[in-house]
């Protein structure tokens, strides 16, 4: 009489299932890692542009613009600014009135919103 002591079909199926699950989990972990690295790289590239974006917006505000669209280092940006508060710059001390004289210069506080495509990127305030 011959006796076969091999694996049953159920055992083989369970082993296969466990193997597939392990591989599935490993590949998900790998993919997540890869995605996160890519995202971190993108964020870093954006961050490296931040100072330049603010300085360019400040410059354009000084030139009289209140909105603009341009590409900086292959990345598209759109910005718009609105005045939140504006006040005359104080001048010299006036002994007669006991206060400060007003000058014809204005200082304004701007609310600036920057986006890229449909994604809002930054929202900040600056004075000019």
């Amino acid at each position: 009489m011959k006796k076969h002591a091999g694996l049953t079909l159920i055992e083989v199926l369970i082993a296969g299932l466990l193997l597939a699950m392990a591989l599935g989990v490993a590949s998900v972990v790998f993919q997540q890692n890869d995605l996160q690295q890519r995202q971190a790289e993108r964020i870093l590239l954006r961050a490296s542009q931040l100072d330049s974006v603010v300085n360019r917006i400040r410059y354009e505000l000084q030139q009289g613009a209140v909105q603009g669209e341009w590409t900086l280092s292959d990345m598209p940006y759109a910005w718009q600014a609105k005045v939140i508060r504006s006040a005359a710059v104080a001048g010299a001390y006036d002994a007669e009135s006991g206060g400060l004289t007003e000058t014809n210069q204005q200082k304004s506080l701007y609310q600036v919103d920057v986006s890229s495509g449909d994604n809002p990127l930054y929202s900040f305030q600056l004075t000019l």
Binding site: F30, N33, Q37, A47, S48, S52, Q63, F124, Q125, L126
Partner: protein
């Protein structure tokens, strides 16, 4: 009758073939994953290192100081020499020795955007005859791989033009008398530019940086209340 509990030769051979194939496939897959992971990690580290170095460089330019030296004729002049492709300036900060000022220089060298500095700690620089080579002999650092550097300066042609505009915010305003120039020598203008645009090109891309000089802008500060990146 004898009972054999061991494997037959055929069973052994088949199992060996299966085991070998699985090992071969898994090692290939493993190598593929690991190589990709390492490449991604290397790329991220490079981007991160470039980011850090470019920040240093921009900070050094933004911290430009109004530093006077004496010419061979005995005249006082500001030390700031900006050409189309190179810049020599004095900064209130330094990369190598925090808390001290430095004479800084940058240009393209050996396929890189190179930053150089000479720390101003014990010996102050008094003469105007310092060159890029003098500065680079002390300390140099490759910032990013680059094939070309283009500089543009937003500034005044002379001190009178600068002083004739709004004294409250002298850097830039609506009635600014400043203009864009492709070179800026303080020995000729007697003042510093307000803004510098720097374009760094390499084989694959062109990066643009706008640096505002801190010392000249009283309104400059961190105003971010909702900064995020995407």
């Amino acid at each position: 009758m004898t009972t054999r509990n061991g494997f037959t030769l055929i069973e052994m051979l088949v199992s060996l073939v299966i085991l070998t194939s699985i090992m071969l496939l898994s090692s290939e897959a493993y190598r593929y994953f690991v190589v990709q992971l390492n490449q991604r990690q290397d790329s991220f580290n490079t981007v991160s290192e470039h980011f850090k170095r470019l920040k240093w460089l921009q900070h050094q330019i933004a911290s430009t100081s109004m530093y006077y030296v004496t010419t061979v004729e005995g005249k006082k002049q500001l030390l700031f020499s900006g050409s189309k492709n190179a810049l020599l300036w004095v900064s209130t900060t330094s990369v190598t020795k925090p808390g001290t000022g430095s004479v800084s220089a940058m240009a393209i060298e050996d396929g890189h955007l190179r930053y150089c500095e000479k720390v101003l700690d014990e010996t102050f620089l008094t003469k105007a005859n310092i060159s890029q080579q003098d500065v680079c002999s002390e300390f140099s650092l490759n910032i990013v791989p680059a094939t070309a550097l283009t500089l543009e300066y937003y500034g005044w042609l002379d001190l009178t033009a600068q002083l004739s505009q709004n004294p409250i915010n002298p850097v830039m305003n609506a009635a600014s008398t400043a203009t864009w120039q492709d070179k800026y020598f303080s020995s000729e203008t007697g003042t510093l530019p307000g803004l510098i645009k720097m374009t760094v090109k390499n084989d694959t891309s062109s990066q643009e940086y706008w640096v505002q000089l801190h010392g000249l802008d009283p309104a400059k500060a961190g105003y971010f209340n909702n900064a995020s990146s995407g």
